[in-house]
C-alpha cells in the first residue's frame, strides 16, 4: 500500500487515490487532421515499463486533483510528484 504525497494535501494512503495510467499523453489539438494510425497511437498505445514510469494519479477521495507521479515499477518507490502542467523532473529521464 503506497503512501502518496498529494501536491495539494500532503502524504496520504493509497486507498484515497485512483490511478490514471501513463502521464504526458496530450490529447491532439486537431484530431481530424490525424490518420487512423496516428489517432490509434494516442488512443490505445501505452507503455508498460519495468523501471521508472511517469503516471497520472487522482486524489479521488481527497481534493480530487489530478497530478503526476514518477514511480519505479520494479520496487514501487515513488520518486517524485508534481502538479499537472509542470514539467517532469529531468533527472529521471
Amino acid at each position: 500500500m503506497f503512501l502518496i504525497n498529494c501536491p495539494f494535501c500532503g502524504v496520504r494512503d493509497q486507498s484515497e487515490f485512483s490511478s490514471g495510467g501513463e502521464a504526458h499523453i496530450v490529447r491532439p489539438k486537431q484530431p481530424t487532421e490525424l490518420s487512423d494510425d496516428e489517432w490509434a497511437e494516442y488512443l490505445f498505445m501505452r507503455k508498460n515499463i519495468k523501471g521508472i514510469q511517469f503516471e497520472r494519479w487522482n486524489h479521488a477521495h481527497g481534493c480530487r486533483k489530478w497530478f503526476n507521479v514518477v514511480r519505479d515499477t520494479s520496487n514501487d518507490k515513488i520518486l517524485s510528484v508534481y502538479k499537472m502542467g509542470e514539467k517532469p523532473p529531468v533527472n529521471y529521464k
Binding site: D13, G20, P28, Q30, T32, R64, D76
Partner: protein
C-alpha cells in the same frame, strides 16, 4: 491417568485447574498451558493422521510451525473453527477440541490403508491418477479425497463474534519480543521514538525466557533472569506500546503491515460475550525491526514421523516452560549443540536421556557440561529407523561413513519413548522477503539470510542468522544504533558468557542401508511428502523449486512448509549437484500464519457490508409495498405490488396506468452535476456529441456522451438555467464516473476553460409525473404556473414555489408521455412526493418503479446506457446519427467515429424485434441467428431489452444484430433450450412514432 508434569514453573498456575475435552474425553490442565502442553502432560502424543497415508502423527513442535497437531475447536456449530494449532491454542475452561484428518477416529483409521498401498501413491499421484476418466472427478474422486482428507469443518452458521480494525502510525515497529526484539524496542523507545512491540505469544521473552543453563550468563545472571529484568524495565517506557498475542500476518510495501491481535480466544466461551474477539492492526511504521527468531529443523531419516518424535528445542520448552516432560526415556538426535541444552535440562530434572550426534566429534562448553554429567553421547552416528505404531518405542542407530554418504558397522537398537531431533536452525526470513528483501545463502550452516537491509527495515537476532547470545546482543545493539541513527549506551558494559558452537555437519537426507524407495523419510509432515517424492520429481524432469513444490505438494499445507522447505531445497541441490544458494527459495507469501475471515472483514458485515443510498421518499416506498432494486449503491423501487399481484401483474398495471392517466416515478437517483462558468457552453460542446451554444436559457436538451474511442458512455438531459449555468443529469449508475471523467478533462486537457463542476445528486429529490393527466396534477400543485404549451413547451424549464419552497420543474419525458420532473431540495422530497400523490388521487396517479420505467421507454425505443449498450456501441450503431453534430470541429470521441472499424457497415446495430407469436416474451441476453443448420451456427447478435407491452398488447424487444439497420422486415431465429422462436426485425420505436402523446 499418567502425569508427565514433573516440576513447577512460574508460567503454569497449578492453583487454577482447567478442564477441557479432547476427542470427547475430559482431561485437566492448568492456567498457562497450551492445548499441546496439556495433552503432553496427560501423556497424549497421538493427535492426528497424515494427509495422504493416514499415518499416526504426534505433536512435533511448540509453535506456529506445527504441522501435525491441528484441531477443530468450539462446542457450537456457529463457533466451530478448523485448523487450529494445538501448540498455539491457550487452554481455557470448557475448551472442546478434536483431532482433524482422521475418520472414524484417531486410533482406528480407515485411511490408514493408504499406508500399505503407499508404493502406489508416488509424487504427483493426484495429478496422475485422478485425471481419468474425466467424469469420475466430480462424482467419485473429489468426494472421496475430501472425505478422507478431512481438513476440518467450516462453521455453517453466521459468525456471532465481533471483529475490529485499527489504524496506527509508529516511528518504529519491532516484530518479535525475544531478546533481540526487547533490546531493539528499548533502544528505540528510550531515544524518543514512538515504538510498537508485537509478539504472538502470551508473554514476552522468546526462547530465552525459560533458558536456565549455567554456561550462559549475562551480567552474572541466568539469561532468563536478566531478560525478565529487561522486560520489567521496558514496561515502564511511556512511548513504547507492547502488544502480546499479536502476530504480524503481512508486510506490504511502504512499511504497511497487518497484524492480528487475539483478544478473547484464551477466555472461556461464556466470558467472551460482547467482547471483540480479534483486532486487525493496520500499521504504518517509519522503520521496522524484524526480530522473528528462527525455527528448529527436523532431520530426515526413515520413519521420522512417529508420535513421540519432536523437535529437540520443543522438548526443552515443554519441560522448562510448561513443566512437562515428553517422555521418561528420551533420545536426542542432533547435528548441533542446541540439543545438549535440552539434554542437560532433562538430566537435571531426572529424565534419563542419551544423545546421538551425527558430527564426528564436537567440543564446546555445553558438550563438556553434558559429558561431565555422564550423559551418553554417540558421535558420528545416525538414526536409521524407528519403531512403534501409535508411539515410538525404540530406534536403530548406525555409524556414519567417513564421507557421510553411507552407514557402516552394526545396527544398535535403543529403546526410548521419545525422540528429539535437531537439524540446526532456520532463520524466519518471511517478513524480510515479504517486504521485498532478497536473501543470501551461508554455506557454513546452510541458512538463507536477509541480504541487504534497506533504510526502512532491518533484521536482528536469530532471524538474521545470529545464533549465540553474545552475537545476538552485540550485533543487535550495533545495528539498531546505526539503523535508527541513535547512540544508545545501555548495553555498552553488558557482560555475556555463552557456549560457542565449534563443529558443524549437515546432511539433508540421512543415509540408510534400505533403498530409498522402501523408506519413509518425511519432509513435509502435513502434506505427507517424502524424500523419495522429491527425488522422483527430479527424475521426471522437474528442476525449478516452484515446480517441485507444486508437483510433490511439499510446503503447500496450512503450515506453508515452515519445517520442510529447507530440506526439500537441500535434497534437490544435492541430487541435481548444484549449490543450494543458487536454487533460490520458494516465495514466502502472506499471511505468515492463517487469519480468520472475521478479522479481515472486521465490522463490514451485515448492513455495514456496503454503503446503501436511499432517497428522501424511501420510507413512502417501503410503506407502499415497493420491492427494491439495487442500482449502484441506490435502493430504487422496482415495482409496487398490490395484494395478490406478482411482479408481472404489477408492472402491467403500472405501465397501463402511466399511459392511460398518470404515473409517478422517484427519479431522485439520477446523477446531477451543476455546471457553472463562462465557458460552460463550450465545455458541453466538447463533452457531448451535439451542439449546445444555441440552447436558449430555460430550455433542456438530451445529450449523448462518448468515450474517446467513440463508444457511447452516458446520456441524460441538461438544462440551461442561466447564461453560464447548466444542470446536467446522468444515468444513476454512471454519475460518479461521469463526474470523474469531466473533471479529468477539465484539469488535464482543458485547464484554460472557466468551468466549475459540483455533484448535486444528493441535494435534490425528483418526482417525475407522466401521462395524459399529468398537466392537471401539476396545475393543482402549482396553480400560478402557466402550463400552456406556449409558455411551458416540451424540453423547457420553469421555477415555481410549492408552499414557499423553490422547485425546478422540467418538462421532459423518458416515457414518451406528457411529463414533468419536479426537483426540490432533498429535505422536502418526502413532502413533495406525498403532495403529488394527494393531488393525483382523483386521476389514479400510479407510482411506478424501474421495471415499468424500462418498459415504457422500450415502447418508445429509448436506449438505456449499460443495458442496450455495452461499451462497444457507437451512436450510429444505435441508429442515433441525428444526435451527432456534423458541424462541430471536435468533441470527445469524434475522431473515432470514422476509424475504419467504426464505419464498418456490418457492426452490431440496434433494432426492434417482434415475435411471431405476440404472447412470446424473449429472454434478455438470448442469442440471435438466421439459420439453424449452418455449423458452426453464425451468431448475429443478442436481445438487450424485452417486455410484454400492455399498451400494445404484444411482446416487444430491442436487440443488437449484425448489419441490423438493413434488415427491417427480415425473419430471424432465437434458439432456446427446447425451441426456436421466430422473430421479425422491426423499427426500434413501437409506440407513437409521431410523438403526439408528448403534447397530449
Amino acid at each position: 491417568m499418567p502425569n508427565y508434569r514433573i516440576h513447577k514453573t512460574e508460567y503454569i498456575d497449578e492453583t487454577k485447574r482447567v478442564s477441557f475435552k479432547y476427542d470427547g474425553k475430559t482431561y485437566y490442565g492448568y492456567d498457562g498451558d497450551t492445548l499441546a502442553s496439556a495433552l503432553l502432560a496427560n501423556g497424549i502424543h497421538l493427535v492426528g493422521r497424515s494427509f495422504k497415508y493416514h499415518r499416526p502423527r504426534g505433536i512435533v513442535s511448540c509453535g506456529a510451525e506445527e504441522p501435525n497437531a491441528i484441531c477443530q475447536i468450539g462446542s457450537k456449530k456457529e463457533l466451530t473453527e478448523p485448523n487450529v494449532r494445538a501448540t498455539e491454542l491457550e487452554l481455557y475452561e470448557g475448551l472442546e477440541a478434536s483431532s482433524q484428518n482422521c475418520w472414524p477416529n484417531v486410533k482406528f483409521d480407515i485411511g490408514g490403508i493408504n499406508n500399505f498401498i503407499s508404493p502406489l501413491i508416488p509424487a504427483g499421484f493426484y495429478y496422475k491418477t485422478f485425471m481419468w476418466p474425466k467424469s469420475f472427478w466430480k462424482k467419485v474422486y473429489e468426494p472421496l479425497i475430501r472425505l478422507s482428507a478431512g481438513l476440518g469443518k467450516s462453521p455453517i452458521e453466521p459468525d456471532p463474534d465481533i471483529y475490529d480494525h485499527k489504524h496506527v502510525h509508529y516511528d518504529v515497529l519491532v516484530i518479535g519480543g525475544g531478546v533481540s526484539g526487547i533490546i531493539a524496542a528499548k533502544m528505540a523507545a528510550k531515544n524518543d521514538l514512538k515504538t510498537l512491540l508485537v509478539d504472538d505469544k502470551k508473554i514476552l521473552g522468546g526462547s530465552t525466557i525459560y533458558q536456565n543453563n549455567e554456561t550462559i550468563k549475562i551480567d552474572g545472571k541466568l539469561s532468563s533472569e536478566w531478560l525478565k529484568n529487561e522486560i520489567q524495565e521496558i514496561k515502564k517506557l511511556s512511548n513504547l506500546t507492547i502488544k502480546t498475542r499479536t502476530s504480524v500476518a503481512a508486510y506490504h510495501g511502504y512499511n504497511f503491515l497487518l497484524a492480528k491481535e487475539n483478544l478473547t480466544d484464551h477466555l472461556p466461551e461464556e466470558k467472551r460475550r460482547n467482547k471483540i474477539r480479534q483486532r486487525l492492526w493496520k500499521i504504518r511504521a517509519k522503520k521496522v525491526v524484524i526480530a522473528t527468531g528462527s525455527i528448529e529443523r527436523p532431520l530426515v531419516f526413515n520413519n521420522n514421523d512417529r508420535p513421540g518424535i519432536l523437535l529437540s528445542n520443543s522438548i526443552n520448552k515443554y519441560l522448562d516452560y510448561y513443566g512437562v516432560t515428553c517422555g521418561e526415556n528420551i533420545i536426542l538426535f542432533t547435528n548441533n549443540d542446541s540439543a545438549y541444552e535440552t539434554s542437560i535440562s532433562l538430566h537435571k530434572k531426572g529424565i534419563k536421556n542419551i544423545i546421538v550426534d551425527l558430527r564426528k566429534s564436537a567440543s564446546s562448553e555445553l558438550i563438556k557440561q553434558a559429558e561431565s554429567l555422564g550423559i551418553k553421547i554417540y558421535f558420528n552416528h545416525v538414526v536409521t529407523n524407528t519403531f512403534g505404531y501409535r508411539k515410538i518405542n525404540s530406534l536403530e542407530i548406525m555409524k556414519l561413513s567417513e564421507d557421510g554418504n553411507t552407514t557402516v558397522g552394526n545396527k544398535i537398537r535403543l529403546s526410548c519413548d521419545c525422540l528429539g531431533m535437531s537439524g540446526g536452525w532456520t532463520p524466519m526470513v518471511h517478513m524480510h522477503t515479504q517486504s521485498g528483501g532478497k536473501l543470501d545463502f551461508r554455506d557454513e550452516d546452510q541458512v538463507f539470510l536477509p541480504k541487504e537491509n534497506s533504510e526502512d527495515q532491518i533484521s536482528v537476532g536469530s532471524c538474521n542468522g545470529d545464533f549465540d547470545l553474545e552475537n545476538i546482543i552485540d550485533k543487535t545493539v550495533n545495528k539498531i544504533n546505526k539503523f535508527l541513527d541513535i547512540d544508545n549506551q545501555d548495553y555498552q558494559d553488558t557482560n555475556i558468557i555463552c557456549s560457542k558452537e565449534n563443529d558443524k555437519r549437515n546432511i539433508w537426507l540421512l543415509p540408510n542401508k534400505i533403498p530409498l524407495g522402501k523408506t519413509k523419510c518425511f519432509i513435509d509432515f502435513q502434506n505427507d511428502s517424502t524424500a523419495k517424492d522429491i527425488k522422483l520429481a527430479l527424475k521426471e524432469g522437474f528442476r525449478s523449486i516452484e515446480h517441485v513444490k507444486r508437483y510433490t505438494t511439499t510446503g503447500m499445507a496450512t503450515d506453508q512448509g515452515k519445517l520442510s522447505n529447507m530440506h526439500a531445497l537441500g535434497i534437490i541441490a544435492d541430487t541435481a549437484g548444484v549449490k543450494m544458494g543458487t536454487l533460490g527459495t520458494t516465495t514466502f507469501r502472506p499471511p505468515f500464519t492463517p487469519l480468520t475471515f472475521g478479522t479481515l472483514v472486521g465490522r463490514n458485515v451485515g448492513k455495514f457490508f456496503e454503503v446503501v443510498r436511499k432517497t428522501s421518499m424511501h420510507e413512502w416506498h417501503v410503506e407502499n409495498n415497493a420491492e427494491f432494486e439495487n442500482v449502484g449503491q441506490w435502493k430504487r423501487p422496482w415495482y409496487y405490488a398490490k395484494k395478490r399481484e406478482n411482479m408481472h401483474d404489477a408492472v402491467q398495471r403500472e405501465s397501463k396506468a402511466a399511459r392511460d392517466s398518470a404515473g409517478i416515478l422517484d427519479a431522485s437517483t439520477l446523477g446531477k452535476i451543476d455546471i457553472q462558468g463562462t465557458d460552460a457552453s463550450e465545455f458541453l460542446n466538447r463533452v457531448y456529441t451535439n451542439a449546445w451554444s444555441k440552447l436558449a436559457i430555460g430550455k433542456c436538451r438530451y445529450g449523448l456522451m462518448l468515450n474517446e474511442d467513440g463508444m457511447v458512455y452516458d446520456d441524460g438531459v441538461t438544462t440551461r438555467i442561466s447564461k453560464n449555468h447548466y444542470l446536467m443529469t446522468t444515468t444513476t449508475g454512471g454519475a460518479a464516473n461521469v463526474l470523474s471523467k469531466l473533471e479529468d478533462y477539465l484539469q488535464t486537457e482543458w485547464p484554460e476553460l472557466d468551468v466549475y463542476l459540483t455533484s448535486v445528486t444528493d441535494h435534490y429529490s425528483t418526482a417525475s409525473i407522466c401521462g395524459p393527466n399529468s398537466k392537471k396534477i401539476l396545475n393543482k400543485l402549482f396553480p400560478n404556473l402557466d402550463l400552456s404549451d406556449e409558455n411551458f413547451p416540451h424540453m423547457s424549464f420553469k421555477e415555481d414555489k410549492l408552499e414557499n419552497i423553490n422547485c425546478r420543474i422540467m418538462r421532459i419525458s423518458f416515457t414518451g408521455e406528457l411529463s414533468y420532473e419536479i426537483n426540490i431540495e432533498s429535505k422536502y422530497g418526502h413532502s413533495l412526493w406525498k403532495m403529488c400523490i394527494e393531488a393525483g388521487k382523483e386521476f389514479n396517479l400510479t407510482p411506478y418503479g424501474t421495471e415499468t420505467m424500462h418498459l415504457l421507454r422500450a415502447e418508445k425505443g429509448f436506449i438505456i446506457v449499460g443495458q442496450d449498450t455495452d461499451g462497444t456501441m457507437t451512436p450510429s450503431d444505435l441508429q442515433m446519427d441525428w444526435i451527432v453534430s456534423k458541424k462541430k470541429y471536435d468533441f470527445i470521441g469524434k475522431r473515432s467515429l470514422y476509424r475504419s472499424d467504426t464505419i464498418r457497415e456490418d457492426r452490431k446495430q440496434l433494432v426492434g424485434l417482434l415475435t411471431d407469436d405476440p404472447k412470446e416474451i424473449l429472454e434478455e441476453g438470448a442469442q440471435i441467428i438466421s439459420d439453424v443448420k449452418s455449423k458452426p451456427i453464425d451468431m448475429l447478435g443478442h436481445v438487450t431489452s424485452s417486455y410484454f407491452s400492455p399498451n400494445l398488447n404484444k411482446s416487444i424487444a430491442l436487440a443488437v444484430v449484425r448489419s441490423g439497420k438493413t434488415m427491417k422486415g427480415q425473419k430471424l431465429i432465437i434458439p432456446m433450450e427446447n425451441k426456436n422462436i421466430n422473430v421479425t426485425v422491426s423499427d426500434t420505436i413501437f409506440l407513437d412514432k409521431e410523438n403526439k402523446r408528448l403534447n397530449a
